[in-house]
């Protein structure tokens, strides 16, 4: 608890400046996770307690069902006594015998049916409670993941998040379903039944219950062990998942290097670790289970021996002995279930901890309590002395003292070597990360003071890496505004130079893309993502190398279309292709996070510095050389 709250304090202190550190849980030391897992069960139960009606009814049903179950040995004992008594007396009044047996039989039937009904209710309530909590956790988890900032998703593997959302939520659900009410049943059976048998015969009763301490001890021990093995096993299985996923994703590399045997060996190594852990889990679980069973049967043997002796002495009726034995027989199933309860509690606490760990992270980027919607007047973007670091420590800085201004209808070009911080600027605009120092404003409003929703709806960032959803082309383009009509979708596609391509597809805009659909080329994907970003008609557009896979001719057409659409946008173009940004109103050259040169294309060429050198490299160096007899390099450098 200490380390956690401390880290939260420190990060919230720094939060106003650079918040990238605030969602810290992923890097949390193992010790902290262990503490959380101890509390996870309590927290799950607290969540369950909020379903007051289900909880109360469930507990009531468990208690009632257990009581009916306890009635059965008593009736059976009566029946045995009746039968024996009649036999002993040999006084055979048939009618009396029949009546006594009849009433016992009816009572037994009634008790059985009632127990069944209440057990059903108890189980159903347990299951529904589990599912309801699962539902709540699933929603909370989903919601949280959507709000956690990029810095969190940068660090945490998506496979891990998916595992938590699927398997761990399931682990919690199973705990609620299997463990909670069953524990109550068990407690009632042992507690109330124990009280009854002790009252009936203190010595015999104590003997009947003598297995309870042993069981409790083994349960406690195995719980600790199971928690540890579950935790380890989960980690091993994640690793195994990763290995398989990477193998399949990189299957061409594997084939190209004839590395099948190598990959199998890698798989086997991790798999062997996982098996070892899995086998240990089984050992722990069943050895303890067997110890509990043995203790239980030993107690039964004692009852039989001592009880038998006392029957012989005449101090106990055969019926009473039968009742003791039936009582113990009833406990057999619950005793066997203890292993399962302990196992699912262990898993529930580990799984719960893994889910809560994510739920407890405060998103680094969120609305201030008094955030207002962004008010657009002109659409002027300003960076004022912006510093930024991706690291919580604030080192190294990815941007230092960056300042610029882009007004409506104007274009800013950003260029620089890899790692100079170009894309960082694109990430700061929609507040995917917060600046470490300085500020970014739109029409004079600090973007940290306005709501994220209003900010992001007016800033459109087009990234180099595009993610397509398994949906139709239409669905993907209208992603930001599912209500958009066909016309707007077609317009956006038209501007992104995608319309003609889509029109030629058999399914046109209904064609499925993404995992299960049509595979698009890099250029097509980028144009689709550009169309997606254009649809909400953002006031500020950032192209983050987003036309890298689009050929120069198409890129020019896209830009022309955008100019036509709205001259009043502020545009930031980040590109390594000078042809894409040389017509910008201002070009800044970044190096190691600093602006080292700025001006128009002509000014920068005249300056004769880095920009000029890059220009020379691109014109005369590797990529572009006019073909003999061809026109000047049209697509790229013609204005």
């Amino acid at each position: 608890m200490h380390s956690r709250s401390a880290s939260r304090l420190s990060s919230s202190g720094a939060a106003r400046r650079h918040d990238a550190s605030a969602d810290t849980a992923a890097g949390k030391p193992v010790a902290a996770v262990r503490e959380v897992s101890a509390n996870a069960i309590l927290r799950i139960l607290r969540m369950a307690a909020r379903h007051r009606l289900s909880m109360t009814l469930g507990v009531a049903c468990a208690v009632i069902a257990a009581n009916f179950q306890l009635l059965i040995p008593r009736y059976l004992g009566d029946a045995v006594d009746h039968a024996q008594g009649l036999l002993a007396q040999a006084a055979t009044d048939r009618a009396v015998v029949a009546a006594a047996l009849w009433s016992t039989a009816i009572l037994l039937l009634g008790a059985g049916a009632a127990r069944g009904v209440f057990t059903m209710c108890q189980n159903y309530l347990g299951e529904s409670l589990g599912h309801r909590i699962g539902y709540e956790l699933r929603l909370a988890y989903f919601e949280k993941l959507q709000r956690l900032s990029f810095s969190y998703h940068d660090r945490v593997h998506s496979g891990d998040l998916i595992t938590r959302g699927m398997l761990d939520v399931e682990g919690v659900r199973r705990f609620l379903e299997n463990a909670v009410f069953r524990t109550i049943t068990l407690a009632v059976l042992v507690g109330y039944g124990g009280y009854h048998v002790i009252r009936l015969d203190p010595l015999l009763g104590a003997l009947a219950l003598s297995f309870v301490p042993v069981v409790a001890w083994r349960a406690a021990v195995s719980r600790l062990w199971l928690r540890r093995t579950w935790r380890e096993l989960q980690a091993r299985l994640s690793e195994l998942t990763r290995i398989m996923e990477e193998n399949l994703g990189g299957i061409r590399v594997v084939r190209a290097f004839v590395a099948q045997a190598f990959e199998l060996a890698k798989f086997d190594r991790t798999s062997a670790d996982a098996i070892a852990m899995s086998l240990r889990r089984i050992d722990v679980r069943y050895r303890n289970g067997a110890a509990m069973s043995l203790a239980y049967y030993a107690a039964m043997g004692l009852v039989l021996w001592v009880g038998g002796s006392r029957v012989i002495e005449g101090a106990l009726s055969v019926g009473a002995l039968a009742e003791f034995l039936t009582f113990m027989a009833i406990l057999q199933q619950p005793v066997r279930q203890i292993g399962m309860i302990v196992n699912s509690a262990a898993r529930g606490s580990i799984s719960g901890a893994r889910v809560f760990e994510v739920l407890d992270i405060e998103p680094a980027i969120r609305d201030k309590p008094d955030a207002r919607a962004l008010v657009l007047t002109h659409g002027v973007v300003r960076f004022e002395q912006v510093d930024f670091s991706y690291q919580a420590s604030g080192e190294p800085l990815a941007l230092r003292g960056v300042s610029f201004e882009v007004g409506p209808g104007r274009t800013l070009g950003i260029v620089g070597p890899p790692g100079s911080g170009k894309s960082t600027i694109a990430h700061l605009m929609p507040r995917f990360y917060d600046v470490s120092a300085g500020r970014i404003t739109i029409d004079g409003q600090d973007i940290r003071d306005v709501t994220l929703e209003s900010l992001r709806s007016c800033v459109g960032v087009m990234q180099q890496d595009t993610f397509l959803f398994s949906a139709s082309i239409e669905g993907n383009i209208a992603y930001g505004d599912p209500e958009a009509d066909e016309e707007r979708i077609a317009d956006a596609a038209e501007s992104a130079q995608l319309h003609r391509f889509v029109e030629r597809l058999p399914g046109r805009y209904e064609t499925l893309v993404g995992e299960r659909g049509l595979t698009l080329s890099g250029g097509q994907r980028q144009r689709l993502s550009i169309a997606r970003s254009l649809l909400p008609e953002p006031t500020v557009i950032v192209f983050d190398d987003s036309t890298a896979s689009v050929d120069a001719g198409t890129e020019r057409k896209i830009r022309a279309a955008l100019r036509e659409l709205g001259a009043q946008r502020a545009t930031i173009i980040i590109s390594h292709r000078l042809g894409s940004l040389m017509h910008a109103d201002e070009i800044v050259f970044l190096e190691a996070g600093r602006i080292v040169e700025r001006g128009t294309h002509a000014q920068l060429i005249a300056l004769g510095g880095r920009y000029r050198a890059l220009y020379e490299l691109q014109v005369h160096g590797a990529d572009v050389q006019p073909a003999p007899g061809a026109r000047p390099p049209a697509g790229v450098f013609a204005k």
Binding site: M300, Q463, P536, S549, A622
Partner: protein, 628 residues
């Protein structure tokens, strides 16, 4: 993953085919079955290696069941022989107690034995199955792998194997339960035929109830499972696309949609829960009925003296036990159902035939002159739609040939055939003068290396990534390779140098850096023939230069076939082959081709950064649209 698909053109047709390869619709058909003999038989195949252990386990199950059955008998006989009025005998009681102790000792030992052995063997079988699937996927043809998404394969490797785990876990108890059931019936009949018949008549009632229950219950379970996979699918997609979600401000919409799916799932599971729980009071009422019968009919006969009291007590015990296995077997119904569906899906993968196997008598490709030749090769991915038509060309040892052409012209397919990722339809591909089909795939791989367009790295250290499968390579060799391709400097600038762990497949490196590492990896593998698929785009001029330099080092002294997109690369080639629609339209040096004023000259004049996107607009009147 789509970046890995060789060409766009093929994809349309491929997706159509994917449909029946791993069909999700199958779920519908087989979901409902709780027992499928064919699948069970396949499972037994995987149990075979553990035969001895399993026999031991079965021995334990039998011993356990026997001891379970014996306990009431012992108690019953204690009551009859020892405690019956007039027969009170301490010695006999001692005798019984000793027998009882013995029985419970056997019971505990056998219970431990069966649970541990079956549990562990089950676990091993699961890992075996997973490994068999994984190993099988390593051998399947690329045509299959192209068509199948990683996500779906993973759900089989993890999800379905996981579902079997639950099944094997309960298999232990199920098996015991079943035996116990049989044992109890046998004992009851041996104790008293009349009472046994009377008591067990209630089972007929149970069977009738079950018949009514089965079909709606099955539908409810299937529905719940489908709803679950919808919810999980939505969660996974949202996690993978979370950046886009935030960028587009879709959080609210997505949440509402997810909530709807989660609620559907909740409702479906609650309905399924009702179906599984409703059996409980039915079974319990029947238990009560059976006990009532024992008490009334048995009690009457005891009072008549035609039945011993001990037998009646034993009956009472057994009847209580009798329904426990039935109850737990009922509870396992949906587990069984899931297991059968999962088994079906697992075996479906295992049954995909390995398309490409070494021919019997395939030789080793030993020392060769590293030449490559295509002889009248026709090839395609979809029957009736060839991608390469009668393609013939040869690459001399040490020569660097650039393959150039618009998207869909067949460059990637040509390159893939050299490594025998696919089988040609007609003609031959020869490496070192030998048909690639006549040598083992493994030895071919030692001569033909590949660098892919998308530099794929593994979550491991930089050292391990460069060395990759050349496990014999020394650290020195790795460092040399890194130096040769110009990656050394950035590697040593990282905190742990070569031991820096790449997280998420090198997401912390730039694309250019990843490219260099993949070059170094190819350099360490040191094959005499190299196929290089150049990255299409998105590398800045600085990195571009570094990569050109690295490529030169990498290709020096090797036979190379480069799928080229960049002019610089193309110009460095000894020869350029221009492909269009799977045919060679031109070939020659850069200057020769410009002289010819053919397709190459047109493509060149258009000045595309890459030739990949040209197809749509350029191919018709390319010359005109290229210029402005």
């Amino acid at each position: 993953m789509s970046a890995q698909a060789p060409s766009t053109m093929r994809a349309d047709a491929a997706t159509a085919q994917t449909a029946h390869v791993l069909n999700e619709d199958i779920d519908e058909k087989i979901f409902g079955k709780a027992f499928d003999r064919r699948i069970m038989r396949r499972f037994f195949g995987y149990m075979a290696p553990y035969r001895r252990r399993l026999w031991l386990a079965i021995g334990c199950v039998v011993a356990f069941t026997a001891s379970q059955l014996a306990i009431p008998l012992v108690i019953g006989s204690a009551i009859d022989r020892v405690l019956a009025p007039g027969a009170m005998d301490r010695n006999l009681l001692l005798h019984v107690a000793v027998v009882f102790a013995l029985v419970i000792a056997i019971n505990a030992a056998a219970s431990l034995g069966q649970e541990v052995i079956i549990g562990k063997t089950g676990e091993r079988i699961l890992f075996d199955l997973r490994r068999a699937m994984f190993a099988h996927l390593q051998r399947l043809s690329m045509s299959f792998m192209d068509k199948t998404e990683v996500g779906r394969l993973m759900s089989r490797l993890q999800g379905d194997v996981g579902a079997l785990q639950e099944f094997l876990d309960t298999l232990v108890t199920s098996l015991g339960d079943l035996l116990l059931l049989i044992g109890i019936v046998a004992v009851l009949f041996s104790l008293d035929v009349e009472l046994a018949g009377l008591t067990l008549s209630v089972v007929a009632l149970l069977l009738i109830v079950r018949m009514v229950w089965l079909s709606p219950a099955r539908r409810a379970f299937v529905r719940a499972r489908q709803a679950s996979s919808i919810v999980n699918g939505a969660l996974a997609e949202n996690i993978n696309g979370v950046r886009t979600v935030q960028e587009m401000g879709r959080e609210q919409v997505n949440f509402v949609r997810f909530e709807r799916k989660a609620r559907d799932y909740l409702n479906a599971t609650l309905r399924a829960a009702k179906f599984s729980q409703v059996m409980i009071p039915i079974v319990d009422t029947l238990t009560g009925t059976a006990m009532a019968i024992v008490v009334f009919a048995g009690g009457t006969r005891v009072s008549e003296g035609t039945l011993e009291l001990g037998v009646m007590v034993a009956f009472v015990f057994y009847v209580q036990r009798f329904f426990d296995p039935i109850r737990s077997l009922t509870a396992q119904y949906s587990v069984m159902q899931r297991a059968m569906a999962s088994g079906q899906r697992i075996f479906e993968v295992l049954d995909v035939p390995v398309g490409m196997v070494d021919r019997i008598g395939a030789g080793e490709l030993g020392k060769i002159e590293p030449a490559v030749e295509f002889r009248h090769v026709t090839f395609g991915y979809v029957p009736g739609q060839p991608v390469l038509h009668d393609l013939s060309f040869s690459v001399a040892p040490g020569e660097m040939v650039a393959l150039v052409g618009p998207t869909g012209s067949g460059k990637t397919s040509t390159a893939a055939l050299i490594h025998r990722f696919y089988e040609v339809w007609e003609g031959q591909v020869l490496v070192g003068g030998r048909d690639v089909r006549e040598v083992t795939q493994h030895s071919l791989g030692r001569h033909v290396g590949m660098v892919l367009q998308e530099p794929f790295l593994f979550t491991d250290t930089i050292f391990e990534n460069i060395r990759y499968s050349s496990v014999g390579a020394t650290r020195e060799a790795v460092v040399d390779a890194a130096k040769a391709v110009g990656a050394h400097d950035f590697i040593v600038s990282l905190a742990q140098g070569y031991d820096t762990r790449l997280e998420q497949r090198g997401a912390n490196l730039s694309l250019g850096q990843r490219q260099l590492l993949s070059f170094a990896r190819a350099l360490v593998a040191d094959t005499d023939i190299l196929i290089l698929d150049e990255a299409t785009a998105s590398i800045d001029s600085y990195t571009e230069r570094a990569i050109q330099l690295a490529m030169k080092r990498l290709l020096a002294g090797r036979t190379a076939v480069v799928i080229a997109h960049r002019l610089a690369t193309i110009r460095n080639a000894d020869r350029i082959i221009v492909l269009q629609d799977g045919r060679i339209v031109e070939s020659g040096t850069h200057d020769e081709l410009l002289e010819r004023r053919g397709l190459y000259q047109r493509l060149h004049a258009m000045n595309y950064a890459s030739f990949d996107d040209v197809r749509e607009e350029a191919l018709g009147g390319a010359g005109a649209s290229g210029a402005t």
